[in-house]
């Protein structure tokens, strides 16, 4: 989970530096901090202004590409990423970002080529695994909508795949949705079945605390005759924590406050109905 205090500190620090030196390249870090905070328009404005002064600053181009991706402007994100590559060359992080943009654009073959290259270099990279899960999920969605779209060589028939959807894969797909910071499947004993989470807090600790919150609210609801709590949504200024009772386990999702709850709900319904654990 993003630590909002840490982000605020980072923003304050970057702003101080930028105030004392308006020519500083720190604008890229500032824009990225605002992006992580969910203030996309502010992130965009800061980055655009800075890039006018430092058009060849590759890292800033990458930040701008991330901002545009988060805004859902995939075409512009790819253009910006290409400018970043021109200025600073390729890196693993750049490849990951390019693959993600391509997936959201629906250019699955191109994305798959990059992901395969990344997988062969480091098969255990969690970021690559998540992208692969996202790619496969988008392929399924696309197949449902349009049978004419060619599938990848290793794509199995849709029904078989849905039956074989594991908890781990479903969690990974959910984790790479825009603005989602963490997804955990937690057993009734409070132990993590699967999932991962961004930030300083460990996933085990987050799982145990989420379980505790879930149990407390469930008990209060039962005691007052309101029935069993099925879903709990906790909203702060910067974060949303969504705890959903799934029968054998609870699903805990933490996301930025500007996450699309509707899209998330649809994805959860789509993924977790068929999950085998």
């Amino acid at each position: 989970m993003i630590d909002s205090v840490e982000i605020k500190d980072r923003i304050a620090k970057c702003e101080r530096i930028l105030d004392s030196d308006p020519q500083s390249q720190i604008f890229a870090a500032l824009a990225d901090a605002y992006r992580k905070k969910g203030e996309l328009q502010r992130a965009y404005e800061i980055c655009a202004l800075g890039l006018k002064q430092h058009p060849d600053y590759a890292s800033a181009r990458i930040v701008m590409a991330k901002v545009l991706l988060d805004k859902g402007n995939y075409e512009a994100a790819l253009v910006e990423l290409e400018r970043g590559i021109m200025a600073g060359g390729r890196s693993r992080a750049v490849d990951l970002l390019e693959a993600e943009i391509l997936i959201w654009q629906g250019k699955r073959h191109e994305a798959n080529t990059i992901i395969r290259r990344l997988t062969s270099a480091d098969p255990d990279d969690e970021n690559v695994k998540s992208l692969l899960a996202l790619l496969e999920s988008e392929e399924l969605d696309s197949e449902k909508q349009n049978d004419d779209v060619p599938s990848l060589e290793n794509l199995q028939p849709e029904k078989t795949r849905e039956k074989n959807l594991t908890l781990s894969r479903a969690v990974n797909i959910l984790k790479v949705m825009p603005r989602v910071l963490g997804v955990l499947a937690v057993g009734h004993d409070g132990l993590v079945l699967d999932g991962r989470i961004e930030g300083d807090i460990s996933r085990d600790e987050f799982a145990a605390l989420s379980k505790s919150v879930h149990e407390s609210i469930k008990a209060a609801a039962i005691k007052l005759g309101l029935g069993q709590g099925k879903e709990i949504l906790i909203e702060t200024l910067s974060t949303k924590i969504w705890i959903i009772s799934m029968g054998k386990y609870i699903l805990v999702i933490t996301a930025r406050d500007d996450v699309s709850m509707g899209a998330l709900r649809l994805k959860i319904q789509d993924l977790f109905q068929e999950v085998n654990i």
């Binding site: 807090i201 209060a220 007052l224 309101l226 906790i234 702060t236 509707g262």
Partner: protein
């Protein structure tokens, strides 16, 4: 034009809760203070406001500690969906707005809740500025001592 708009003398807290219960599927709405004392309520006679206020307090008391670790800064709103109900507890210190609706009411209710909170906030600023500033000062003091979380 809604009935509440015609009645200029009506308490603004009451207007805010009535605005919520005008929405289809809303069972009732309550404004309570930090101790669960009901300030305004709206809903049919069978709507058990005390039960929901007690639920909000019980939730607040039981989740403060665990939430301290995982939800920073303070919790603004908490939504609980049970098999039958959709309960929203929104904090607008020093008061709490509690809305009980049917489980499957459409998500536009959230917009109405936000508007109702704005009404309450405006009324609080106009009528009880001293309470608000006292509460803000207390919140700052409390935050300095620890990063407490309040529902």
């Amino acid at each position: 034009m809604g009935k509440s708009k015609l009645d200029k003398s009506k308490d603004k807290f009451q207007v805010a809760v009535d605005y919520l219960t005008e929405y289809s599927g809303v069972k009732g709405a309550i404004i309570a203070d930090n101790e669960g004392i009901i300030i305004a309520r709206s809903g049919p006679a069978e709507f058990d406001a005390e039960t929901f206020a007690a639920f909000a307090l019980a939730v607040k008391a039981s989740i403060e500690e665990p939430l301290k670790e995982i939800a920073r800064p303070d919790v603004e709103q908490l939504t609980v969906k049970t098999a039958q109900d959709w309960i929203t507890i929104a904090r607008l210190s020093p008061i709490i707005l509690i809305v009980a609706a049917e489980r499957h009411v459409d998500d536009l209710l959230s917009v109405r809740i936000t508007r109702s909170l704005e009404m309450i906030s405006t009324h609080m600023k106009a009528k009880y500025p001293a309470i608000l500033s006292r509460d803000k000062a207390a919140a700052v003091r409390s935050k300095k001592k620890s990063e407490g979380v309040h529902v």
